[in-house]
């Protein structure tokens, strides 16, 4: 797949998932694709490997159970779906059929945060909280649509359940030029360096954080931006370094503030006796966020780039 890289321009992460899955299916005859009637991007896989493609219809629990069965026999099932239904309808199957048996099922969910536009039934604001609480589950959140390819490839050697939260899935902003970085479970990326404060973000909020950092730079405030794509496990060294070097930490995420990356980081602070000078979180408050585009809702609930800039300026006063 050859394409030109333009920072901030759009690409469909779902189409990257479709292409990569097809590639993996060719290389590994134990790779399966499963979906509960949301496999629009899996056309080439199902065409070439129909005996390793299962569409269960609108039945997410069933899908998770079947994936567990496949994995018990040494297969690597990828489930593609919409986040709320994949993580909530099938929650107990994910926990007990998959995580309890520590099976290498891959969940790839689209519509992270409030990006779906479908309102509160379709918003995904609890998924990280839910999935990270499952023992044995690894949780990644990926905004850059090219990054998902590398992650899927490296997941082939990962013997545990893996949840990957994507942003909207149809229109996702490119952040990193393909081939210029190596990704690893348990790592993070310093997407921009700075010494005055650090914004830690994941998913599509990394772009928003970079925008905020740009605005602040024009006012002489140098902000570091960390793309903490691996939420569980968390890169504590990267976190500690940010606290030491920039003292001020802001977490920005498209998730309920309670239970998301901010909570994971707060846990790490408590466990490690780490005390930043300032620690703030921006994200979704305890509301059913309702209808509107992701951008509109971010603004409404106060976690867009403008809000981030304001919080950091206040913090550094």
């Amino acid at each position: 797949m050859k394409m030109t890289f333009n920072f901030g321009s759009f690409l469909s992460a779902r189409s990257v998932v479709g292409e990569t899955l097809h590639e993996l299916g060719q290389k590994h005859n134990n790779v399966w694709a499963l979906t509960a009637d949301t496999g629009g991007a899996l056309a080439t896989f199902k065409k070439d490997f129909p005996d390793r493609f299962i569409d269960t219809g609108v039945a997410e629990q069933n899908c998770a159970g079947i994936a567990a069965g496949l994995a018990l026999e040494g297969n690597i099932p990828f489930i593609a779906g919409m986040i709320p239904f994949m993580t909530m309808r099938a929650c107990e199957q994910n926990r007990t059929a998959i995580c309890y048996q520590d099976l290498p099922v891959r969940f790839i969910g689209t519509g992270g945060g409030l990006t779906s536009g479908g309102g509160s039934t379709h918003n995904a604001m609890e998924d990280i909280s839910i999935m990270k609480s499952l023992v044995n589950m690894t949780v990644l959140s990926i905004g850059d649509p090219n990054m998902i390819r590398d992650i899927m490839i490296l997941s082939m050697d990962y013997p545990h359940p893996l949840y990957i939260r994507l942003a909207q899935g149809k229109k996702d902003r490119m952040l990193y030029e393909p081939g210029t970085r190596t990704y690893k479970i348990g790592e993070g990326i310093t997407a921009r360096d700075g010494k005055d404060a650090t914004i830690i973000a994941h998913g599509e909020m990394v772009y928003v954080a970079l925008e905020a950092a740009k605005t602040l730079a024009a006012e002489g405030i140098e902000v570091r931006v960390i793309d903490m794509y691996s939420i569980k496990p968390l890169n504590k060294n990267l976190l500690l370094k940010a606290v030491k070097e920039t003292r001020n930490i802001v977490v920005l995420e498209d998730h309920l503030m309670e239970g998301g990356l901010a909570s994971v980081i707060a846990d790490a602070f408590v466990d490690g006796n780490i005390y930043p000078e300032n620690f703030k979180r921006l994200g979704i408050p305890q509301v059913f966020a309702g209808f509107g585009s992701g951008e509109e809702l971010r603004k409404k609930y106060g976690y867009d780039d403008t809000a981030t800039v304001a919080v950091i300026k206040q913090m550094l006063k």
Binding site: T35, A36, D37, T38, G39, G40, I54, D55, T56, G57, V58, A59, E60, Q61, N62, P84, F85, R89, G117, G118, G119, S120, T121, H122, G290, F291, G292, S293, E296, L297, K300
Partner: protein, 286 residues
């Protein structure tokens, strides 16, 4: 047999409703679940304008029939059926549909839009909630019915059958399920992967009375609703309505690409022309 005048009245309403759906879709800059809206248009007209005892001026009346749209992605179809019945204002729907803070969202929200009985959009949950309403009505000796509209694809969800089993076991004769049997899911046709047939037998096996009908034939819709058994019936009833996804618009009918979509100006005009021709009986078979 349905009164021909009533059939005509409802057919005209359905015709108007299809045009309103298309015009809304054309005016909106995002996607609308137009395929499944057009497949249940006639059924919703039949329910809101003939079969159900509802009163838009008294939306909390304890004696009203209850309607749950389990296939919540068809919200706009329900909004317009209700709007034609006098619940809402069409221009207001068009102006605000799907926008920030709108009461008229892509999936119905009971709290934001009084008149909606239940917030839905996550498929497969409606029937169990309807069973709860039906239990309550029976225990309180209330005479209304509970209607629950489901997509056929939606009935792949296990919860639907758990609820169906309960309703059959507890002999909830005041419960009426309606299946928009358009034989399409979101990304495939029935039979490509999941096979729902023998569909009516499945419901019968769960102790439901089954009525099969053409969901685009207003006479049959009226007959089915007029001939529902009394609420003391020993079984719940399911109306399995054979429908066409995208009904009335040639380029949408049975086209997987039109589960949901956005309409250009040109397509809007073409769709309206199709609906007019369809209504006049002039359109050649798709």
């Amino acid at each position: 047999m349905a009164d021909p005048k009533e059939v005509k009245r409802l057919e005209e309403l359905a015709y108007e409703m299809r045009k309103k759906l298309i015009n809304l879709c054309g005016a909106y800059d995002g996607v609308v679940h137009i395929g499944g809206d057009l497949s249940m248009t006639d059924l919703l007209i039949g329910l809101y304008h003939h079969g159900m005892r509802v009163d838009p001026s008294d939306i909390k009346s304890p004696t009203r029939d209850r309607f749950l749209l389990s296939k919540g992605h068809g919200a706009v179809c329900m909004y317009i059926a209700m709007c034609l019945r006098g619940y809402f204002d069409y221009d207001e729907i068009v102006k605000t549909y799907g926008r920030l803070d709108s009461a008229y969202g892509m999936h119905p929200c009971k709290i934001q839009l009084p008149g909606v009985e239940c917030s839905t959009g996550s498929l497969g949950q409606g029937l169990a909630i309807a069973v709860g309403l039906a239990f309550s009505a029976r225990q309180r000796k209330e005479a209304h019915r509970v209607f629950c509209m489901m997509g056929d694809g939606e009935t792949c969800e296990g919860e639907v059958w758990e609820a169906a089993n309960t309703a059959g076991s507890y002999k909830l004769g005041n419960l009426v399920g309606i299946i928009d049997r358009n034989k399409q899911l979101m990304t495939s046709f029935d039979g490509d992967y999941m096979r729902l047939e023998p569909y009516a037998d499945k419901w019968r096996a769960f102790n439901w009375d089954v009525v099969e009908l053409d969901g685009h034939d207003m006479g049959q819709i009226i007959d089915a609703l007029d001939n529902l058994p009394p609420i003391t019936n020993e079984k719940p009833t399911v109306l399995i309505a054979s429908t066409i996804k995208g009904k009335g618009v040639s380029f949408m009918e049975k086209n997987v690409g039109w589960h949901a979509g956005a309409l250009s100006k040109e397509d809007t005009e073409k769709a309206i022309a199709d609906i007019e021709a369809d209504y006049a009986g002039e359109r050649s078979a798709a």
